[in-house]
Every structure is written in structure tokens, then in C-alpha cells.
């Protein structure tokens, strides 16, 4: 576990040392806060708008953090930084899990920072304290970083470096967009098992409806199970992969 955490530590250190991350967080807060100015343009829907903007931007920020994995892993493999690590007593699976955990932890930290900023702004503008359903909607988005990162790690293994980030972004987009496929027969098992149903984390359309803590917990567990599948597949591919 120490080895995994060492790799995870280097990953979140990398992301948290990028100044652009803090710029991103501040921009997100500003955009969330600016929703209050849309009262006339939205005919009094500025509260709803602020909620929707916060959920949208939190999702995008987390997706960007996750997609950064698709830059990092291939680059480390290509430039030889990964080779240095893998010549230590570190299994290839441990390396992948370390990268996965590091990215997930970073995404969770950044997601929580954005959500906390939103709740402070929401309180300042509308005087409403923490709304549980909204908190759950944000937590679900944050939890979605688990399967998203697993997808990013998997694609880092199977795709050429140049196209990995783009394909990962498209895959994440469609994973959030195709939940209606789950209605159809055989797809019920395949979808969510092999194909990721990230829409399970999507309460953006009903942020004022309480998802329930059990749902949030179950969704996180599903994310973890899907990640086990994706990471095991990644590990299997990585086992046979030549490292520069």
C-alpha cells in the first residue's frame, strides 16, 4: 500500500502544483457567483441558474482533472519517468492503482473546494444554508471522478498518446449521455458492467430532489466496482506492454 500511496502522492503533488488548477477554481467560483446577475435575463431563475452552473462547472473541473491523467501516464511511459519507478519494487498494477488513486483524491479535493465555494456563495447571495439535496448532487459529481479516472487510465493504456485525451473526453461525454441505453434488454447488464453509466451520478436535472445518502453511497460503490473492472483490464494490458 505504501508503494501505491507513494505514486498517488506524486500524482496529486503534480496536479496541485499546477497554477492553472487554482486559476480554474477561482474562475469556477467567479462564474458561479456571476449567475446572481442573471435575475432579469432569466426572469427570476437566478437561483436555479446558480445551482445549475455550480453543478456544471464542478463536473467540468473534475473531468479536466481526470483527463490530465491521460496526459500524464502516456508521457511518463514515453519519457521514461515511469520506467524509473517500475524498476523499483513496484508492480505495474500498483503503479496504475497509484496513478488512479492520486488522480481520484485530487479530483475529490478540488470538487470539494468548488462545492464549498458554491455553498458559501449561495448562502451569501440567497441566505440559504446548506441544502442536503444540493450537497448530495455535488457529492455524486465528486464521486463520479472514481469511474471517470478508471476510464482515463484504461484509455491511457490502449490508445496512442496523441489521441488519448480527446477520446477520453468523448467517452466521458457519452458515458454521461447514454443512460437511456440501459432500458434495453441485454444492455441492462452490459451497461453499468462493461460500459460505464456515468449518468447514475447525474442529479443535475433534479438537484433539489434528495437522492438519499444510500443512493450516494451505492453510486460510489458502483464507481469503485467499475473501477476494479477498468483497472484490472488496464493492468492486464499493461502487463504485456513494453515500456520505454
Amino acid at each position: 500500500m505504501n508503494e501505491i500511496m507513494a505514486i498517488a502522492g506524486s500524482t496529486w503533488r503534480r496536479i496541485l502544483r499546477m497554477k492553472v488548477v487554482y486559476f480554474l477554481i477561482v474562475c469556477v467560483w467567479i462564474l458561479i457567483g456571476s449567475a446572481m446577475n442573471y435575475d432579469i435575463l432569466s426572469l427570476g431563475e437566478e437561483k436555479e441558474l446558480m445551482i445549475d452552473v455550480s453543478l456544471l462547472l464542478n463536473t467540468i473541473a473534475i473531468a479536466l482533472i481526470v483527463i490530465s491523467v491521460t496526459f500524464e501516464i502516456p508521457r511518463e511511459l514515453h519519457e521514461g519517468a515511469a520506467a524509473t519507478m517500475l524498476t523499483k519494487p513496484l508492480g505495474r498494477t500498483q503503479y496504475l492503482v497509484g496513478k488512479f488513486l492520486g488522480s481520484v483524491i485530487t479530483a475529490i479535493i478540488i470538487g470539494l473546494i468548488i462545492a464549498a465555494g458554491f455553498f458559501v456563495l449561495f448562502y451569501m447571495v440567497f441566505g440559504e444554508p446548506l441544502i442536503i439535496s444540493l450537497l448530495q448532487a455535488h457529492l455524486l459529481i465528486i464521486a463520479s471522478s472514481i469511474p471517470m479516472t478508471a476510464i482515463a487510465v484504461l484509455f491511457s493504456m490502449i490508445l496512442p498518446e496523441m489521441i488519448t485525451p480527446i477520446i477520453t473526453a468523448i467517452a466521458l461525454w457519452f458515458s454521461f449521455s447514454t443512460s437511456h441505453l440501459a432500458k434495453y434488454g441485454f444492455m441492462k447488464i452490459i451497461y453499468g458492467g462493461v460500459l460505464p453509466d456515468l449518468d447514475l451520478f447525474n442529479f443535475k436535472s433534479a438537484a433539489m430532489i434528495t437522492a438519499g445518502w444510500s443512493y450516494v453511497a451505492m453510486a460510489a460503490v458502483w464507481g469503485a466496482i467499475f473501477s476494479v473492472f477498468a483497472l484490472t483490464l488496464s493492468s492486464l494490458i499493461f502487463r504485456f506492454k513494453d515500456i520505454k
Partner: protein, 312 residues
């Protein structure tokens, strides 16, 4: 305990597995046995397969055929890596990390107890003369500094086997000397060293065993003293004795005109030639100087490579 720190059996690596790619053997049936307590120099021209061999030994790439053992364990055994130090060719590390942080991660991976970690990290930084850069980011380091950090991480765990891929590249003459000193220190401490380099004079000074690889095939391998014992004769003909030169030229393995107008001919061990030279020495003692020659590693290396090229 196995007698060999590294052993390979028919180790082969073929690149281009996909059907539309031309298959290309980077390494062909390499059989290598490196005894304990040796400093092994792995030589070969560019593309010979040296780095491929090292990567196979470090389990970074998978063999197409054959097997490799390192310190008595299969090369894909993760645990054995705890006893190995490895410096890659042109090392590249995470640029966002500080030197200390990077070495700390390496120390964690090497399972160095947390109580000893800091001390050991500063020890190795001191060895590679990088202590003052401990808190600088690797991204700002020069190639030579990166090489030093690479060396530091490779000796962090006081390895039983140190594998160095082109360790002298990127270092200034002073740095090269320091590295040679480090390798000698490691040798004295009982570390087995396996390294490949293009700088043959350095290899000759450091190594006691060498192997020469060309086009994926091992040309020769053994103790340096044994390999270079193949003696010949060096005949220096003074200026104005071209007739002697012309007489012996056909038998010479190499010839070169000297700056003073004389000639130097080199012969392989040959009883007939030796007899003729002995006679000439008696007849014209001032016209020639003659002495048995022992090849240096560079000559040996080029002769070996040339012989393969001729075979091809």
C-alpha cells in the same frame, strides 16, 4: 546462492508484433552469464541491443523468447528489484518534483524505513554532489544534474547489482571522473556492476568483464584480461625502408603511415611472419622496431565489430 548475478537463456526480443509491421529482432538468443563480484561492461554499437537487454533484465519489456534471471530470480520478479539499482539511458524524471521529493518517493518504493530515509537521501545526494539542490525542482536541472540524480536514485538502496545504461553520457569530464569513482566505491563495497557505455577507455578502466553485442547477437563475452590476451606483433618500419613495408604488407592485419614517413604494421600471431621479422631484426636492426602488441579495448571492439560486418 547462484554464482551469476545475471543469467540469460536464449533471450530474444522481436519488435513489430503486429502483422502489418515488419518484424525486427533487436536481440537474438542472448546467452549471458555474469559472475558475482564483477564489473561488467556491455559494449556494442548503436542499435546493437544493449538497452533492449537491460530493459529485458529490468522487466520493462517482455522477451519474445527465452528467459532472464537477475540475482537468481526471474527478471519479472518484483521483489528482486529491491536489490537492484538502475540508471536508465537519458533518465527522465517527473519535472514537478523536487530532488528530495523524488528520492523520497524512490526510497518509499524501495521500502527504506522512514527513520532512515532522510539520512540515506542526503547521503546519496552528498555522494553525487547534489546536496545543495535537494529542494530544487528537477524540471530546472541540466542534463548532467539529472544524470547525477539518476545515479543517486540507483544507489539509494545500496544495491547488490547496479545496472547503468550509458551512465557517463551528459557528464562533464569532472563528473565522469566522479562517477567512475562512485562505481569503484560500489565495486569495493561488493556491488556487482553491469553497465553499458560507448566510452571504451572508461570501460577498460572500470570493468573486469566485458561483452560485445552487435546486431542483437553476442560477439564475445568474458574477462577483459582473457579477451585482450590475443596478442599480435607491432612492427614499426623507419622512414626510407619502404621495401620492408612492401614485403610484409600482405601479411599485416593493419597498416598505417607514421608522421615521420615510417610505417606501422600490425600482425596477428603467425609463426612464419615472426620468423621473418626475427631474421630482419638481425639483418637490419636499425630499420625496424618490433614488439609483441596487446590490443586495447578499443581495438578489440572495432576488430570484433568489423569481423561481424565482414560476415554479413
Amino acid at each position: 546462492m547462484e554464482d551469476f548475478v545475471i543469467r540469460t537463456e536464449n533471450l530474444t526480443k522481436v519488435y513489430g508484433h503486429l502483422f502489418w509491421k515488419k518484424k525486427e529482432a533487436s536481440l537474438e538468443k542472448l546467452n549471458l552469464q555474469i559472475p558475482r563480484g564483477s564489473v561488467f561492461g556491455f559494449l556494442g554499437p548503436n542499435g546493437a541491443g544493449k538497452t533492449t537487454t537491460i530493459r529485458l533484465l529490468m522487466d520493462l519489456i517482455k522477451p519474445s523468447e527465452g528467459q532472464a534471471w537477475v540475482l537468481g530470480q526471474p527478471a519479472d520478479n518484483v521483489k528482486v528489484k529491491q536489490r537492484i539499482g538502475y540508471l536508465p539511458d537519458g533518465p527522465s524524471f517527473s519535472t514537478y518534483l523536487k530532488a528530495y521529493e523524488f528520492l523520497n518517493i524512490c526510497a518509499k518504493l524501495l521500502k527504506i524505513p522512514s527513520s532512515e530515509r532522510k539520512k540515506r537521501i542526503y547521503e546519496v545526494l552528498d555522494i553525487v554532489k547534489m546536496t545543495e539542490h535537494a529542494n530544487s525542482k528537477l524540471g530546472g536541472f541540466s542534463r548532467g544534474m539529472i544524470q547525477r540524480i539518476g545515479i543517486a536514485q540507483s544507489i539509494l538502496n545500496k544495491p547488490e547489482l547496479l545496472i547503468l545504461d550509458e551512465p557517463l553520457v551528459g557528464l562533464d569530464p569532472h563528473g565522469r571522473q566522479e562517477l567512475k569513482d562512485i562505481i569503484n566505491e560500489q565495486k569495493k563495497a561488493g556491488t556487482n556492476v553491469f553497465f553499458c557505455s560507448h566510452i571504451l577507455s572508461d570501460v577498460e578502466k572500470i570493468c573486469d568483464h566485458v561483452g560485445i553485442l552487435s546486431r542483437g547477437k553476442m560477439l564475445c563475452c568474458g574477462a577483459l584480461t582473457d579477451l585482450l590476451s590475443e596478442t599480435g606483433y607491432r612492427l614499426v618500419i623507419k622512414a626510407g625502408h619502404d621495401d620492408i613495408m612492401q614485403k610484409f604488407m600482405p601479411e599485416a592485419s593493419s597498416s598505417s603511415k607514421l608522421s615521420d614517413g615510417g610505417w606501422e604494421l600490425v600482425f596477428k600471431e603467425n609463426v612464419e611472419v615472426k620468423k621473418s621479422i626475427d631474421e630482419l631484426k638481425r639483418e637490419k636492426p636499425d630499420a625496424i622496431t618490433y614488439h609483441p602488441s596487446k590490443e586495447n579495448l578499443e581495438d578489440f571492439f572495432f576488430r570484433q565489430i568489423a569481423s561481424t560486418d565482414k560476415r554479413i
